[in-house]
């Protein structure tokens, strides 16, 4: 099996993508709400990812 070498960002991006798809599907009752919730969840992941990334960057000194 080929080996996959991902950076922190790439791994977190993929994680966010797959998780958002499932969260969108299982949470809401119609397709429009599912799409909106999936996008919302993905955006929250990205905001947290960049926010925590910069926080660690500044916290590191």
């Amino acid at each position: 099996m080929p080996k996959m070498n991902l950076s922190h960002f790439e791994a977190a991006f993929l994680f966010s993508l797959f998780t958002s798809v499932v969260m969108g599907i299982v949470t809401k009752n119609n397709d429009r709400d599912r799409l909106h919730y999936g996008i919302y969840t993905f955006a929250c992941f990205m905001i947290a990812l960049f926010g925590l990334g910069w926080l660690m960057y500044f916290g590191h000194g």
Binding site: K3, M4, L6, H8, L14, F15, T19, V22, V26, N30
Partner: protein, 139 residues
């Protein structure tokens, strides 16, 4: 004085109505949705869970064994094992074909381990969704 509202009890759903969808949903990610004629959602679940699991394998993630010891060891290993097993056929094939990896240090391997466990946990969410559809509580 707070007014107590009576909780409406939902009627018990016969096991025959939901068990096949939940069992198939465990075995094949999205399988419960296929059985319940929610093909589009089933395909998306299948792609998302399988992709996550395969990415975890390709990152050489570790598959947990149900070890016991102190509380934290038990929680991590048994919880991780349950998450791995929830992957259904993906987990079974991985173990049977010998693709499970030893635990090694490194951030990519750590991510891989988390991907494998979370793929199983997402499949549990899909199984719960299939149960709710089969029970008539959801469209």
């Amino acid at each position: 004085m707070a007014v107590k509202e009576k909780e409406e009890k939902q009627p018990a759903v016969p096991i025959g109505a939901w068990a096949p969808a939940v069992a198939l949903g465990w075995l094949i990610p999205g399988g419960g949705h296929f059985l319940l004629k929610r093909t589009g959602r089933g395909v998306l679940l299948l792609i998302a869970v399988t992709s996550m699991f395969v990415c975890g394998l390709m990152m050489r993630g570790y598959m947990f064994q149900p070890q016991t010891g102190d509380l934290l060891t038990t929680l991590i290993n048994v919880g991780g094992f349950v998450g791995d097993v929830a992957g259904g056929i993906l987990y079974l094939l991985t173990v049977w074909l010998g693709y499970n990896q030893p635990d090694v240090a490194g951030h990519v391997h750590d991510y891989g381990t988390k991907f494998l466990v979370v793929a199983g946990l997402l499949n549990i969410l899909a199984m719960v969704d299939a149960f709710e559809i089969a029970a008539g509580r959801k469209e």
